[in-house]
Amino acid sequence: MLRFGPAMGPVAVVVLPLFEEANRVRALAAAICRALARRGIGSLLPDVPGQGESRVPLEQCGLPDFSDGIADAVKQNSDTSRRCYSVAIRSGALLDRTAAVHGRWQLAPQDGASLLRDLKRIRQAARPGTPLGDRWYQDGDAPVEIAGNRIAPDLLTALPLSKPWGRENGGVVRTVRLETDTLPADRHVAGTPLWRRAEPDTDPALAALLADDIADWIARCEG
């Protein structure tokens, strides 16, 4: 788990997206954390089970394991004087549902059905000429390999029902999307969808802009 910024005051817990997109946006997430530190806000970048530096194999993980990992990171880093806020990127917004955070900030949140469609398309691309049916991931209990990630069929089965936390669930939620994204949001900003890039890249201007938005939002929540 990487920590940035002051050891006091509010903490932004940055939740990376699942699978390949985590690698593509890790540099952006770290740039946001450093920019938050310059604005006096502490942050941390936890690895969920099965991802990053975790020793648990991904194929043994389900969505509840990821959510528990985020909830634990929040629990360990909050006390009466330190409140945690989640900063979820893409499908990371599926993983902060059980965390005791005081607000949820989301960048281009992706629901589970959309993520499953992405995964199917990636798997299909690796197997041209073999059309995948609707039950493409339900062939026994064996993990399904998608772009180097071995994913449990149960996890894939759970995805279509999984949605990011919304205002209808209560609490404070702020959603930011790129201006090229046609879905509704509290704010649309200029930037590159780094989560689509085959080669990981970063966008310093986007990171600075997002850090400003997060810092202002946390200040309003704390105020």
Partner: protein
């Protein structure tokens, strides 16, 4: 607002290729209807195709079925824009 005329669809597809493949502005601007894509553009491997199609769906508000994705649709820049335009409600 969703792009709804051919020029807007062209510029949306061009910007999507630039953003997903990491093309320079100059390279993206130089794409013409006859520019060969899949098999000719080294950045456009099958993994990148998956990201490209999903991003086009998101930006144009369309849904591309898997059985519609074939070599012809991705043969040239022009064929990709024509496909996107045919899918876009106007």
């Amino acid at each position: 607002m969703l792009p709804d005329d051919y020029d807007q669809i062209d510029s949306t597809v061009r910007a999507t290729l630039r953003d997903v493949l990491g093309l320079s502005e100059a390279r993206a601007a130089s794409l013409t209807a006859d520019t060969a894509l899949f098999g000719a553009l080294p950045e456009l491997d099958s993994m990148a195709v998956a990201g490209l199609l999903t991003e086009i769906e998101e930006r144009l508000g369309i849904l591309i079925e898997d059985d519609e994705v074939d070599g012809e649709m991705l043969e040239t820049y022009g064929s990709l824009v024509r496909f996107a335009a045919a899918k876009t409600p106007r």
